[in-house]
């Protein structure tokens, strides 16, 4: 099975790193969209179907928390699993984001294997 994902982070380096982790975890990607902030992410999502969204929180413009809020409010988008990858490790933030519908949370800095575990938890172990 091939996956379509959207990676949202204002750092091109982090987007590239996350993409590499997804691929090395065994998830074959038929499409990998990238966005620099929440507004760009929503633009993509209104045009393309994705199986998963990975998003940072601290971004200029529409941040990750606002993105999750808008996804939750949009019937056509709220079912898409989202994993948050953020430097913010505070319990209050994590609880808020999970309540907004985030399916997974990875704190930066993270080991690639931690993201893999979260991907497998959210999407299942990738099939051959």
């Amino acid at each position: 099975m091939a996956y379509r994902v959207l990676i949202t982070d204002d750092s091109p380096a982090m987007r590239a790193f996350v993409r590499r982790v997804i691929e090395l975890s065994g998830f074959e990607l038929s499409a990998c969209f990238e966005a620099g902030d929440g507004a760009e992410a929503l633009d993509v999502l209104h045009k393309e179907w994705v199986d998963a969204i990975l998003t940072d929180i601290n971004m200029p413009g529409v941040d990750g928390e606002e993105l999750l809020r808008r996804l939750a409010a949009d019937e056509s988008l709220r079912g898409i699993p989202a994993i948050v990858i953020s430097t913010d490790a505070t319990q209050s933030r994590i609880s808020r984001l999970m309540a907004l519908g985030a399916r997974g949370y990875v704190t930066k800095p993270f080991r690639p294997e931690a993201l893999r575990a979260e991907l497998e938890r959210t999407l299942g172990v990738p099939s051959e």
Partner: protein, 175 residues
Amino acid sequence: MEQIIVGMADCKVGNVPGQLLATYALGSCIGLSVYDAQANVGGLLHYMLPDSTIDPARSKENPYMFADTGVPKLLDMVCGHGASRRRLVAHAAGGASIMDPKAIFDIGKRNYLALRKILWKAGILLAGEAVGGGNSRTVRLEIGSGRLWLQEGGGQKTLVPSFPAKGANSWPTVS
């Protein structure tokens, strides 16, 4: 069952079911095991130091002494026997902190970090690991079943059951 011993600064590959690759006395050294369940090919490397640039002449004599020369050779060897890099399942053991008052650096930790960097660059994530701490370890890899055993501080456990069982191994999974 043919037992193939992997010594210190050594590396062996097996492609005959029933072969058992084994390495002992993994203290600050790292034992890296890789296995391709489809091709039934596996390899075990036991290296001692992270970086060959400190002694390039030595690494030409024996690339398995160092992580940066040993790991690529292990990968080449298993792939040469029909393994596919994408299908390799990798486990690491060792990297213990050996208490040595003269040691300034924690060689075990440096060996472990070197491994993670090299595997990341080679496009391989660890499926499981048993590293750090103060115990010496022994690792055995069985070709055919892909079973992996770890012996540590007097106890022994089967870490990887027979394939196929992707994601179901009982090594402390890396996270």
